[in-house]
């Protein structure tokens, strides 16, 4: 009889979860809540970590491998750490590249200045690269689009740059574009190189995984101070911060793509007589192109999503304008800048895809003029528009609208957005207010209390138990180790608040995503539509809705959570659509033939089959949510995020604290990731997918 029960427990996961829950509740109830009780809170044995980390960072900055550097102004040798000199030279190179692209389009003399003396430049003030008139640039974008992908892309490029120009965002857009145009290829090259390395060497891949996980999940604000210290302030620093977060998906996609290549294709390349180089560049990389392009797409999206944060460390452009607009509560103005960011993302994405898919025509037999038709048109239009603009110099007294339309003089629809925000505010305020009250007092308040009232022993038992049931002993130890690491710092209570907010937002966002995704995934057109909406929200800077949510929900946890839910619904929706679309049509048909209703088909066939994919979406939702909950510190929170932001201004121990806390956030995300991935894999296996 006894043995029977054991068997049931051994074979039934629900039973195991049930028992785990009972143990958890038991611990929750009976462990006394007093300091000094190690079952209630662990001692902060790891409190030294932030301090040590800080020492290491500063040692790297100022002490390690000192070099004697001659200072021509002070006429003496100074000791400077090699590492910082190294990072400084990287900064110099990056800044040069960004400035180069920027001046190519906007004009200026900074690049020339590098090569000639100040005095000479002053005497020869004609020595300045001329600005490209926005009219010519629009023609250029149109032609480039045409060359790459025909009339549709031409329209996209042309209308896009026309919009940006006449709405007065030309200069900041080019600043942002130059930032992205340099950062994306760097991420691409780095990602591709590491991806190839990881593909060739299994050990490297294994070593890369945890590093990539941390890079992708660490809140960006946690490493802004070290970046300033190492790389300084400016566009290059923003670029570095972006590279940290945008390279990992590129690496992952490269490895994934290369691994998916059938061995036969490799052999075919070898038998064609490829050298190693040829095999890599002519066979492997092009064959993995789909996944690599997905990686590039992600890199572009990430670069543009990072534009605002990059402006915290000195990047100019739309991000900075957006931030300044938000400070004076000009939501419309900020949203306009946000739209430009999305527009740039869309154009870059479509253009790179078209470029990668471009076909060579071997049979064309063109005259010189035909071959260089577009370039000639472009050159002519630059000439014409420059001359026109130059002549117009006499006509306009202050601002030459034919070169650049400045932001205050451009068209604007900001007041419509402001009016819309006001309308939402006026219309929904009272109902939202009572909703907010209910949520805070009935749901969030008690939930927060419950989380904070959790003895550490109970929390660890629960998380490790779930990990054990789903993934076995290794997963259990891994997750346990990560949680223990957080629990033994003095920030456990803060971490609990972060967890409470994240849990709530993840549940809500996942539900939203699954429902919205399911509705739109019913038709192909719906799927396409909702996926582009997802693209929009992923690149539209989330900073923009931090302020309106304060209008609606005050400075409370609700505001933070609403912002987080809006942002984190994106991946849940996206993956739901992907998952549902990948359900084979034969199963739809089989379902229909067995006479199930649409609802039954959804619950009994589609959702279970799409479940593993949806779970991966939930995984992403966790990462997105944590990012936004941490960003919620800009509204006002009492969790890890508040301390991470606080640490920005603390030179003494700031960097160490920020990175440690950032790491905690990473570890939370990774714990969930480990469990969910395992679960999804198992479900996939059980369903016979893949």
């Amino acid at each position: 009889m006894n043995k029977n029960y054991l068997d049931i427990i051994r074979s039934s996961k629900p039973a195991q979860f049930g028992i785990l829950l009972i143990i958890f509740l038991f611990l929750y109830h009976f462990i006394p809540q007093n300091e000094g009780n190690y079952f209630w809170r662990l001692p902060s044995l790891l409190a030294f970590i932030p301090i040590k980390l800080n020492e290491i960072i500063y040692a790297a900055l100022y002490e390690w491998f000192p070099l004697k550097v001659y200072d021509p102004i002070f006429e003496m040798y100074e000791e400077k750490a090699a590492f910082r000199e190294f990072t400084k030279s990287i900064s110099k190179g990056l800044l040069f590249l960004i400035t180069f692209v920027r001046e190519l389009l906007l004009g200026g003399d900074k690049i020339i200045d590098i090569f000639v003396s100040d005095a000479w430049l002053k005497e020869n003030d004609w020595m300045s690269w001329p600005a490209l008139p926005w009219t010519a640039a629009t023609v250029g974008a149109f032609l480039l689009g045409y060359q790459l992908g025909g009339f549709r892309l031409a329209l996209l490029g042309g209308i896009g740059s026309l919009y940006v120009s006449i709405f007065g965002n030309w200069v900041p857009s080019i600043q942002t574009l130059s930032f992205v145009l340099i950062t994306t290829p760097i991420c691409f090259v780095l990602g591709l190189s590491f991806g190839i390395w990881g593909y060739l060497d299994k050990k490297v891949e294994t070593a890369l995984q945890p590093v990539l996980n941390v890079m992708q999940t660490m809140p960006q604000f946690a490493y802004l101070v070290p970046i300033i210290a190492l790389f300084g302030l400016g566009d290059h620093a923003g670029s570095i911060a972006t590279i940290v977060i945008a390279t990992p998906p590129m690496i992952r996609n490269t490895i994934l793509g290369l691994k998916r290549i059938s061995p036969e294709v490799v052999e075919a390349g070898l038998m064609s007589g490829c050298t190693k180089r040829q095999l890599l560049f002519k066979v492997l990389i092009p064959t993995a192109r789909r996944d690599i392009l997905n990686g590039v797409n992600t890199v572009i999206m990430q670069c543009l999503a990072m534009v605002v944060i990059a402006s915290f460390v000195g990047a100019k452009g739309l991000g900075l304008n957006l931030k300044v607009a938000l400070n004076s509560l000009k939501i419309g103005k900020a949203a306009e800048a946000g739209f430009c960011i999305v527009l740039i993302a869309v154009i870059l994405d479509r253009f790179t895809k078209a470029w990668a898919n471009k076909q060579v025509d071997y049979f064309e037999n063109l005259t010189f003029f035909e071959r260089y038709k577009l370039l000639i048109i472009f050159g002519t239009s630059i000439l014409i528009f420059s001359v026109v603009a130059f002549i117009a110099n006499g006509y306009f007294d202050k601002i030459n609208y034919l070169y650049v339309i400045p932001i205050e003089k451009g068209l604007t629809f900001a007041h419509y957005i402001d009016a819309a925000v006001d309308w939402v505010w006026d219309t929904f305020f009272y109902s939202l207010n009572s909703f907010n009250k209910f949520l805070l007092t009935q749901v969030l308040g008690p939930m927060k209390k419950a989380y904070l009232g959790m003895p550490v022993a109970a929390t660890l038992t629960l998380t490790m138990g779930i990990a054990y049931i789903i993934g076995g002993i290794r997963t259990c130890l891994l997750v346990g180790g990560m949680m223990l690491f957080i629990a033994m710092s003095k920030y456990w209570d803060r971490a609990l608040i972060t967890m409470y907010m994240a849990t709530f937002a993840v549940i809500m966002a996942s539900l939203n995503g699954i429902i919205v995704g399911s509705i739109f995934a019913q038709t192909q057109r719906g799927s396409k539509f909702i996926l582009s909406v997802c693209d929009f929200f992923e690149t539209f800077p989330s900073f923009v809705y931090l302020i309106p949510v304060i209008f609606l929900f005050n400075i409370t946890d609700t505001s933070v959570l609403i912002a987080a839910i809006v942002y984190a619904t994106v991946p849940a929706t996206r993956y739901t659509v992907w998952g549902l679309n990948s359900v084979p049509t034969s199963l739809h048909e089989a379902g229909t033939m067995s006479g199930v209703s649409r609802m039954q088909r959804w619950t009994n066939i589609e959702i279970p089959l799409a479940f593993p994919t949806i779970m991966l979406g939930v995984n992403q939702t966790v990462v997105f949510t944590l990012q936004m909950v941490i960003l919620g510190a800009l509204i006002g929170t009492e969790d890890l995020g508040q301390l991470i932001f606080g640490a920005l201004s603390r030179a003494q121990d700031g960097p160490g604290v920020a990175i440690t806390l950032g790491l905690f956030v990473s570890l939370m995300a990774i714990s969930v990731d480990v469990i969910v991935r395992k679960w999804a894999e198992e479900r996939k296996k059980a369903l016979g997918l893949d």
């Binding site: 300044v324 400070n327 800009l634 606080g646 030179a651």
Partner: protein, 313 residues
């Protein structure tokens, strides 16, 4: 294409190796996210250029810029408020690399207060005296759903004054009626003020003077007077820690090498002492007259030529 690329590489390489003598690096001035600060940065940039320097405006963050000044990434930090920025300012100075380049010609005051309609509507009779806060009816008018029935004080970010406000509530003996909520940023404070204004509801928030963002219609609460060492963290007692805020300075910080590398610019910088009306004028050009920050700076210099000339002497 290949030729173009190799030309480009050569250019990059040349840039790295370039040893053309430069008189001095461009002076790097931080640009933060509020108008008066950005216009002042532009005024300085234009003045420095007049003095023969190059100037560069660098987007920065108010919290991180002292570290940037300390390591020499920025040459100046020209708007340093005592109450909110003194901590990172002095921390950077202690670590070495940042120097104090004097103060502007104005007195700052940063304190908890209420929008005027709060007084007009009688939401808390007796304001602006802090004694009014002792009334439970008053506190109830400032409660929010997450304040557990207490009235809410909306403080600035925690790192601005850490425990000062919670301690003050304890010192005044009203911590059973009021609680402190920390906003994340100045932006969040303005959003709250805007929201409260629209709804006409009561709010007690942290604000400062001169404030060029929302100058009109705000009243600071009168707390017991400040004196040296009244606060708990400066050696005060629970009885004295209810004291209000001190009058403060608006300082200018500079990188330690700035006086040597850009001598006459530094001289200008130390002499540059703007008054509250000056700074108000700068903000006004942008916020109300719709100029760009650079135009506003030009307009300001044109309008106050004597003052700038005086700084330049």
């Amino acid at each position: 294409m290949k030729k173009l690329l190799s030309l480009f590489y050569t250019l990059v390489l040349l840039a790295g190796l370039s040893t053309v003598a430069k008189a001095a690096d461009p002076i790097r001035i931080p640009v933060l996210n509020w108008s008066s600060q950005i216009v002042m940065a532009n005024v300085m940039a234009q003045a420095f250029e007049e003095l023969g320097y190059e100037a560069e405006l660098v987007p920065a963050e108010s919290a991180t810029r002292y570290e940037a000044v300390r390591v020499g990434e920025l040459h100046v930090a020209h708007e340093t408020w005592e109450s909110t920025m003194a901590l990172p300012f002095y921390a950077a100075m202690d670590k070495g690399g940042l120097i104090d380049a004097g103060s502007h010609d104005l007195i700052t005051f940063e304190e908890m207060g209420v929008p005027n309609w709060v007084i007009e509507e009688g939401l808390c009779p007796g304001l602006p005296s802090w004694e009014a806060l002792k009334s439970p009816e008053c506190a109830a008018n400032f409660a929010t759903p997450d304040s557990e029935g207490k009235g809410r004080w909306l403080e600035g970010p925690y790192e601005w004054h850490t425990e000062v406000m919670p301690n003050r509530l304890k010192g005044l003996g009203i911590d059973d009626l009021w609680m402190v909520k920390f906003a994340g940023t100045a932006d969040a404070l303005w959003a709250e003020l805007e929201a409260a204004k629209k709804e006409g509801r009561g709010t007690i928030i942290f604000n400062w003077s001169p404030n060029f963002t929302d100058a009109a219609g705000f009243t600071f609460i009168d707390f017991p007077p400040y004196f040296e060492g009244c606060r708990l963290e400066n050696g005060g007692t629970l009885e004295t820690t209810g004291c209000g805020s001190p009058k403060g300075w608006l300082k200018k910080a500079a990188h330690i090498k700035f006086p040597i590398t850009h001598t006459s610019a530094y001289k200008f910088y130390t002499k540059m002492e703007f008054t509250a009306p000056n700074i108000g004028e700068m903000a006004n050009y942008v916020d109300n007259e719709g100029m760009t920050h650079a135009e506003a700076a030009t307009a300001y210099i044109a309008n106050n030529r004597d003052q700038i000339d005086l700084f330049m002497k």
